[in-house]
Structure formats: C-alpha cells, structure tokens
C-alpha cells in the first residue's frame, strides 16, 4: 500500500510543513491570548518577513545564481532569517500601534477588531504588491541544499533524501519553539503575557503594563512569523499574495491546538501538517482533498473537545 510504503517520507513532509504552520500559528494564538482577536493581518506579517528575508538575500548574494558556500552560506542564511524576523516584528508592532491600540482604548467589540484586521490585511498585501510588483520574487539560494541523510523506505526512483533546507526548516522551527516556550514559562515577560492573557485587568493590578505586554506579544509573534516567512520563501515562493493560504492554515492549526495556548499552536501546526501529508498518502488523488480532510479533522476534534486539543481549561502555558 502506498501509505505504508511511504510512511516515513509522508511523516517527514508533514513535520516540515507543520513546523512552518506552527511558526505562524504561534503568532495567531499569542495575539488571541492577549487580545481575543483573530489577527487576520498576521498573514501579512508573515508575508512581509519573507519579503524582508528575500531582500536581504538579494542584497548579499545577488541574483546571478552563484550559491555561496562555507561560512558565507551560513552567514547569509542567518542574516536573512534575522532580517525577516526584524521586518515582521516591525510590521506587527506598527500594526498594533496603528490599528489595534485605538480600538483597545475604546474597548471596541471583538468583531470590530476582526474587520480592522481584515482591512489591514487587504491594505498591506495590496501595498506590497504596489511596492514590489505583482509577480513572484526571485529567492537567491544562500546555500547548496545537498542530501543530509536518507529516509527509510526508498521509492522506485531512488532513495528519498532529506536535504539541508529541510533540516534547516525543521531545526530552526523547533529551536524557535523551544526558546519561545522557555520565554513564556520562565521569564518575567512570559509571566506578564500569561497574566494578561488570563485577566488583563488583574494583571494591571500586579503592575503589568498591559500596553507594553501586548506590543511585545505582537513583536514575538512577528519574530516567529518572520523566520517562518523566510524559510517558507526558500521552500516555496514569495509574492505579495503568499500570506493568505498559509495564514488560513495556521489559523486552523491554532484553533486545532486550542487557540490562546502556545503549546497548542505548536502541536496544532505539526498535526495539521501531518494530516495534510498523510491524507495525500491515504486517499487516491489526495492532494485534491487535503483541505477537505483537514477541515473535517478540525470539526471532529472540536466536536470532541470544543476548545481544541490543549484547550484553555487544561493547558498550563498561556
């Protein structure tokens, strides 16, 4: 059977896609935690990070197709990731300042936040299209993505290898997630975020500057989405409309894991990636049904656990 033959490959692809989803989903879930807002513009935060990373790569490596090697490969990649993270964080920060803070001061209802987010999203991606053209941008390669190791169960066209890029995606995503988990659970900022997520007013009575915590939450979400965006750019493609679909998927992942819960978002992202991958292996012409399957899984999970897998009533992390 196709599925059993390709199990490891499917699992690996699922984890790779899932860790990208997870990186984006964390931004949704953290903002949801502190503002109870579905930040639809987060997909544009992700997109801007990808753009930032690509511009950095273009500035460093140029578009002539020469692939750097050795230390400069490492250096360029790292700088691109950092550039993406910084750009995304800046966009997320300004988004909060310009769009959401006035609403928060007026205690606007959540639906107004939602429409504001949608407006911001439409505005931002079209602005990006106006600024940088409406075609896919060229992503210069910053390193040679050679085979690293071979997956068990090789297909008829040769062994399935895991490449450097795949390792980079999964490793970066996991490192970022672990660091984030430590930040959330071990630092003062983390406890501030958790406190605001649970009860903003009481957090204020403890001396937490809610405005500052919300700003920083957006920044953290932006940092992760930016790194995700650059990795996604290397793996997939970059254009001004690139945010929409991953955004929807990551949002789904966040809900799957229990929105508001950071570990839930990580779990939900990985799970969604694996579900998407496995459904391609199990269903004939499965790629056509990927979205249907993942949403059906979501509905089933929500019917069993109405607040997602790590819904707020059980999880400890914010």
């Amino acid at each position: 059977m196709y599925f059993t033959q390709h199990f490891w490959e499917l699992l690996f692809q699922g984890i790779r896609l899932g860790s990208l989803y997870a990186l984006i989903a964390i931004g949704y879930t953290m903002v949801y935690g502190v503002l109870q807002l579905i930040n639809f513009a987060h997909s544009e935060v992700f997109m801007s990070g990808a753009l930032g990373g690509v511009f950095m790569l273009t500035a460093l490596a140029g578009t002539n197709g020469n692939i750097p090697s050795g230390f400069s490969a490492f250096e360029y990649t790292a700088l691109a990731l950092i550039a993406g993270a910084v750009v995304s964080a800046a966009v997320a920060f300004s988004l909060e300042r310009v769009a959401y803070r006035p609403l928060r001061k007026r205690h606007a209802p959540k639906l107004v936040y939602l429409i504001t987010a949608i407006g911001a999203s439409i505005f931002l991606y079209n602005l990006a299209g106006k600024l940088f053209g409406r075609n896919n941008l060229q992503v210069p390669e910053s390193f040679h993505s050679g085979p690293v190791f071979v997956l068990p169960g090789s297909g008829p066209s040769g062994p399935r290898t895991v490449k450097t890029l795949d390792v980079l995606i999964i490793a970066t995503a996991f490192v970022m997630m672990i660091v984030l988990d430590l930040v959330i659970n071990r630092t003062k900022l983390g406890s501030g975020i958790r406190a605001v997520a649970q009860d903003a007013e009481t957090a204020q009575l403890m001396g937490v500057d809610v405005g500052k915590v919300i700003s920083r939450t957006f920044i953290i979400g932006g940092l992760l989405a930016g790194v995700g965006g650059v990795l996604y750019a290397m793996f997939h493609a970059v254009s001004y409309t690139m945010g929409f679909i991953p955004g929807i998927k990551a949002f789904t992942a966040a809900v799957l894991g229990g929105i508001g819960n950071v570990r839930g978002a990580m779990l939900g992202g990985l799970l969604l990636g694996i579900v998407e991958s496995f459904s391609q292996g199990i269903i004939p012409n499965g790629l056509e049904w990927v979205d249907v399957v993942s949403f059906v899984v979501l509905v089933v999970v929500l019917l069993i656990r109405p607040t997602g897998i790590l819904g707020e009533r059980t999880g400890r992390a914010a």
Binding site: Q198, T202, V208, R316
Partner: protein, 257 residues
C-alpha cells in the same frame, strides 16, 4: 524605587492610628460609566496604619471607589491623593509601584497559573521575587504552601481568597485594598480570613476594606464609611457605627448577633 524600601517600625502604639497622617485621600471624586454616575463626589480619608471599612449595599459604589484608587477607573472630577500627592494621570500599573495593593472583587486568581506563580505575579513590580516575602505569605497562609504547585483554578473559594490576599501582599503594599474578602465563603473561613487581615494590619499595612458583612468588618476596622448610591452618607469610628441604630437596621439586621 529600590526593591527593599527602607522601612520604619510599625507605629502600633496604644494611640489610635486614626491620629496618624493621611495616606489616602479622596476629595469630591466623581466617576461615571457612560451616562451613569457611579460616584457623586466622594470624600474619604485613610490614615496610615488604619483599617477603614467601606460599607454599603450592592451598587453603592464601593468597588468603584477601590477601582478608582488603583487607577482602573479615571475620575471625572475630583482628586485622589496618596501620601499627599495627586495620583492624576498615573496609570494603574504604575500605581502598584507606589505600594498600593489591590485584591479585587471576585478574587480574580490567574486560574491557569499555579499558586506559586500567582504569588510571583504579585511581586511583578520587583526585579526578582523576594524569598522573605514569600515566606511571610506562607506563614500567614500555611494552606497556600501545601498547595503551591496546584493550579489557581483548582483551589477552593477560601483558598482562592487567601491567594488573592497573599498575591497582593507580595507587592509589599503600604496600602492594601481588599474588595469583599468574605464573599461566598463559609463563616469559619471568613473568621480565619478576618483574623489574618488583622495580622497584616498589625504588621504595618494600611487597609481599605470593602465589605457587605458589616458586622465583621466593623469589629475589625478603626473607622468606617457608609456609601449609598454613590455618596458617603455616614462616616465615623467603627465602634460608633456598630452601635448606630440606623446602621444596625440597614446593614446588620441579618448578621448582628
């Protein structure tokens, strides 16, 4: 401010603390929600070392008063003065840094944090959590030490109330605002909590106490204010209020022994 502010010994002399200097003063404070005026010009004073009880029926404006002091609400007119200085324009999270601790109505425990984490949140205004304070809270509430790793949401009502007070104490408050600490608790636990409040006061913390349980509160307090629909209708030393026939009728009818 420094973490361990210089302290002076508690002025617990035979003389009543009501003779001390005023720590908190509200002068003709008016607060409105939208069109609804909740406080219609309140004058109130809490002197250093005192326990002051704020009494009144539901909706009289007791909680609003506390929320105005801690900066959650902004007065429409009037002034809140703390240690003689106006608090106008200082946001709630900075007011905490001045040593005003607030244990809010309904306890508002962080239910998805452990007891210990809740207490650590109480010390959020300091760079690090002082072990001394932690020990002191655990000494006041030994039950919390037993439950230190449990989630706040899993505690009983009484334990949650203890946690709420303990959490406020972690911020080393000079003035502690307590909102309905006895609400919904069994009489035995209420007695226990009031005893602890007295101990906290004895340690030198000034307390502004909002209570529906007027009898208990007045036994504990030095002075009391009675609020009715956003106005102070009576203010007197606690003993006088306890013996006032109008008070006995209106607030102690059920609870007076």
């Amino acid at each position: 401010m420094s973490d361990q502010a210089s302290t002076i010994p508690a002025p617990r002399t035979e003389a009543s603390p009501s003779d001390n200097a005023a720590l908190l003063e509200l002068s003709s404070v008016e607060v409105a929600y939208g069109g609804i005026v909740a406080l219609k010009g309140i004058d109130l004073e809490v002197r250093q070392g005192e326990i002051v009880a704020l009494l009144g029926a539901n909706g009289a404006g007791k909680t609003t008063t506390l929320r105005t002091v801690s900066g959650l609400l902004k007065p429409r007119s009037g002034e809140v003065r703390y240690a003689g200085e106006a608090l106008t324009g200082i946001p709630a999270h900075k007011i905490v840094q001045l040593g005003i601790g607030h244990s809010p109505e309904g306890r508002r425990i962080f239910s998805r944090m452990t007891v210990l984490e809740n207490l650590q949140m109480g010390a959020y205004r300091f760079k690090s959590v002082s072990q001394k304070d932690l020990d002191q809270v655990f000494e006041l509430f030994p039950r919390l030490q037993e439950r230190r790793t449990q989630l706040g949401g899993n505690l009983s009502g009484g334990e949650q109330q203890m946690l709420a007070i303990g959490r406020a104490m972690m911020g080393q408050p000079a003035l502690l605002l307590l909102d309905e600490p006895s609400m919904g608790l069994a009489p035995l636990i209420v007695a226990q909590i009031f005893e602890i409040i007295e101990r906290i006061n004895a340690l030198g913390t000034t307390i502004l106490l909002v209570e529906q349980n007027a009898a208990q509160a007045l036994k504990l307090a030095h002075r009391g204010y009675v609020l009715e629909t956003g106005e102070v209708v009576m203010s007197a030393p606690a003993g006088e209020l306890l013996n006032d026939p109008r008070i006995r009728e209106a607030y102690l009818g059920e609870t007076a022994e």
